[in-house]
Symmetry: C2
Subunit: 137 residues, 2 copies
């Protein structure tokens, strides 16, 4: 698809915050198998999705620090991110998560042949794995 | 690219929170020209990117309410989202934002032919528009 110059093309960076970066890297890098790019540092870690998008796992205190080289940000409370899984793999993903000792919070059939599995990351963020697309086109 | 069944494919949903949904819809829908799907309700509004990803603009109090049909979430403080712009359009986007009365917080050349413009949404979230890709492959 040729990009429409009048439209933003996509989301490049999505952020979740947590204060235990090692636990967060274990969750996103090991359990969810995201591919880390760059080093783990006091700010956190960054992961590249096959789609090209980035998931940033940041320490909110470090990210909110004034005087960074980029604008500051950082939140308290449970955020949310949903990942698309390759078609037909949600059951395998669910098994893998349970095998990692993770608890499935909810499993939802959307009624348009899409389905989501929800769990929490170590910081309490709501993480959703989706097969198909429950949203209007 | 054929999806690797062992890998999550991409980010489907990214969320930003704000308590003035009308102002948020003005920012994301009108100034950033994201395409809204579905209705605006007490929970917020949802936007589809050309890439297929969704940006959800939610009222944190409503999203964090217990007893929703899906797991609750909601944050305080400034979150962050970065959007990719079509190649070569960042100057046009910057002009459009300024024409909308929005203030550019920072304009950063990354040194690998990518460049970012930062601004704040009505809730204070840090919003970044990126031409190119500043991250390692």
């Amino acid at each position: 698809v040729s990009p429409d110059p009048q439209q933003l093309a996509g989301v490049l960076e999505t952020v979740v915050y947590g204060d235990d970066i090692e636990a967060m890297v274990g969750f996103y890098g090991t359990a969810l198998r995201l591919r880390r790019v760059g080093d783990i540092d006091e700010l956190g870690a960054s992961f590249r999705l096959p789609s090209g998008g980035m998931l940033l796992v940041f320490d909110a205190v470090q990210a909110a620090r004034p005087g960074r080289t980029v604008p500051s940000h950082g939140t308290d409370g449970a955020g949310h991110v949903a990942f698309s899984v390759p078609p037909g793999t949600l059951d395998a993903w669910r098994r893998r998560l349970v095998d990692h000792g993770l608890e499935i919070e909810q499993d939802v059939e959307w009624g348009n042949a899409s389905r989501s599995v929800y769990l929490r990351d170590p910081a309490g963020n709501s993480v959703e794995l989706v097969d198909g697309d429950p949203w209007p086109a």
